[in-house]
């Protein structure tokens, strides 16, 4: 998908396409109007192309594996670099959700969250990301008719995880205690 409005935007293919002025196309002599940053490779790669060459380039590159996760990860990486010192970032990367156990590092690598509770636990980092993606921060659509039990739900996520861990460690006493708690909550 081509985007050439002034505000750079990330498309679904791990590629940033923006438009700036006064530059020559890298493949011909025409003015470069498309500025493409490939975000899928190991290093971001910059390309400055005219409309015709950009079209050919982008069409050529269609059809590879979809790359939504790295795209998101890259938006996030940029956002974090702007706001944080390296040590702060390292600390943030190691923070893990108490319910599902996902670390922030895992999220920004895979672009997928671990459980509903992450939206609260990583709220500070997610809020600007969500604004970046949607331009809005508040849901105005449909709501479930059946109100979900607020914390009972995500607590189950933690208990089940702990139970599986206990079984792996062959701590069956702890496992059965956890199982009872889970059953109680599932009622």
């Amino acid at each position: 998908m081509l985007r050439n409005d002034l505000q750079p935007a990330i498309n679904g293919r791990g590629r940033r396409v923006g438009r700036r002025l006064s530059m020559k196309c890298q493949q011909c002599e025409k003015p470069a109007t498309f500025h493409i940053t490939e975000l899928t490779g190991p290093q971001p790669q910059e390309l400055h192309l005219c409309e015709t060459c950009a079209k050919t380039y982008l069409l050529q590159n269609e059809g590879g594996p979809a790359a939504v996760a790295p795209t998101l990860a890259n938006v996030l990486a940029k956002q974090l670099k702007l706001g944080q010192a390296a040590e702060e970032l390292a600390k943030l990367d190691q923070r893990s959700c108490p319910q599902c156990g996902i670390t922030f590092y895992e999220f920004r690598n895979q672009g997928r969250l671990g459980c509903p509770h992450d939206y609260e636990y990583f709220e500070r980092e997610l809020t600007p990301l969500i604004m970046n993606i949607h331009g809005e921060s508040k849901h105005v659509g449909k709501r479930p008719q059946r109100a979900a039990g607020p914390s009972g739900g995500t607590k189950l996520i933690r208990l089940r995880r702990e139970m599986e861990d206990a079984i792996k460690k062959e701590d069956y006493e702890l496992a059965s205690k956890l199982r009872d708690q889970i059953r109680e909550l599932e009622k």
Binding site: P116, H134, H139
Partner: protein, 360 residues
């Protein structure tokens, strides 16, 4: 697997070729992403979790009285690679669901207007699809389906952010509205990029035939909403619905232009396409899609007179790799498929006198 064999001989909803504006609009589709509140999102699910999520939805779906007689397909255990590909070609499951591992399944209604994918990127992805331009009815149907399930399970929902999804790009409504268009004249006149370039400013995205990352094969394009948060479902439907008549109009103008300015060239192009399809001895699915696209337009413009749209729609779907193999009843490699495809096309496009090839 009985259900699938039956599906193979039919055309499926998305290529039924009827409904409003079906000359250019192939299908209208809406999908909703939903997650259970008490399980991790899919990437963090253990196999035990996946099995429990699958069971929760299976039981909830079984409890909906209106859903007696749905086709249930256990994608994880009983499905061959060809059968999975077959469902992808029919747009009943996503490539993600097809290629994942671990417990996962899909429920499909007999008319193929909807499917409920369990353990895709989110715990539940439901989609409704109608032939032609029919977004309001699609929304009404999927909204009702969502209500039925909502009474039986507890969704992950956040007061401020709405429905919570594994990927923050889907949070809020969890809704993707897409309309599939057939735009051969805009491609020939090279106007297509111009049209598409204006779409992001309107919050819309363009994808190829099989969704994210797929190529625009056979001049089919899907237009869908970009954002899912901060707008109501009805607004999102409207956002997509408003631009479709404009694109239809462009395509019709381009067709009229081609007929007026280069009727001979156009007539030549569609006739050659028809000729190749009728006589080729071996042909790839890409080339077939490409040529059928020309022929489809030729029929609508009255340049090809001895062929009907339903036949073409049927060929679009039946010549795809998994369909071809299911119809033939055997596994075929690429080269064998190309020969089989050519035979299939010959059999259906011109009356073969001796009938010694192909058995469809």
């Amino acid at each position: 697997m009985s259900g699938l064999e039956e599906l193979a001989n039919r055309c499926g909803e998305w290529l039924r070729g009827q409904g409003p504006q079906s000359e250019i609009v192939i299908s209208s589709r809406i999908r909703l992403a939903r997650n259970l509140s008490s399980f991790p999102f899919i990437r963090r699910c253990s196999e035990t979790d996946r099995v429990a999520v699958e069971k929760t939805f299976r039981e909830a779906i079984a409890g909906v009285p209106q859903w007696k007689g749905l086709i249930y397909v256990n994608v994880a255990s009983e499905l061959s690679a060809i059968d999975r590909q077959f469902l992808v070609e029919r747009q009943l499951i996503s490539r993600e669901l097809s290629e994942a591992s671990g417990a996962r399944s899909v429920f499909i209604d007999a008319a193929e207007t909807f499917s409920l994918m369990i353990n895709e990127e989110d715990h539940l992805r439901m989609q409704v699809m109608h032939s032609g331009l029919d977004l309001d009815a699609v929304w009404e149907q999927i909204n009702q389906m969502d209500d039925w399930l909502d009474q039986r399970v507890s969704y992950a929902f956040h007061e401020r952010l709405g429905y919570l999804t594994a990927c923050p790009t889907n949070v809020g409504t969890g809704m993707r509205v897409s309309v599939m268009l057939h735009l051969p004249a805009l491609v020939i006149t090279q106007q297509i990029e111009k049209v598409f370039r204006s779409l992001p400013k309107m919050g819309l995205a363009v994808r190829g035939l099989y969704g994210e990352g797929s190529q625009a094969m056979g001049d089919f394009y899907q237009i869908s909403n970009q954002v899912t948060l901060g707008r109501s479902e009805v607004d999102l439907v409207k956002q997509v619905a408003e631009v479709i008549p404009v694109i239809i109009d462009y395509e019709q103008q381009s067709r009229a232009f081609l007929v007026k300015e280069s009727r001979k060239d156009l007539h030549d192009r569609v006739s050659r396409a028809y000729g190749i399809l009728c006589t080729a001895q071996t042909i790839s699915s890409e080339e077939t899609l490409h040529l059928l696209s020309s022929v489809r337009m030729g029929v609508y413009l009255g340049l090809i007179k001895d062929l009907e749209i339903p036949t073409i729609n049927k060929l679009f779907i039946h010549t795809q790799p998994a369909h071809l193999q299911k119809l033939r009843g055997m596994n075929l490699d690429t080269a064998e498929r190309n020969v089989e495809r050519a035979h299939y096309l010959q059999d259906h496009l011109r009356r073969r006198g001796n009938g010694d090839l192909g058995q469809n």
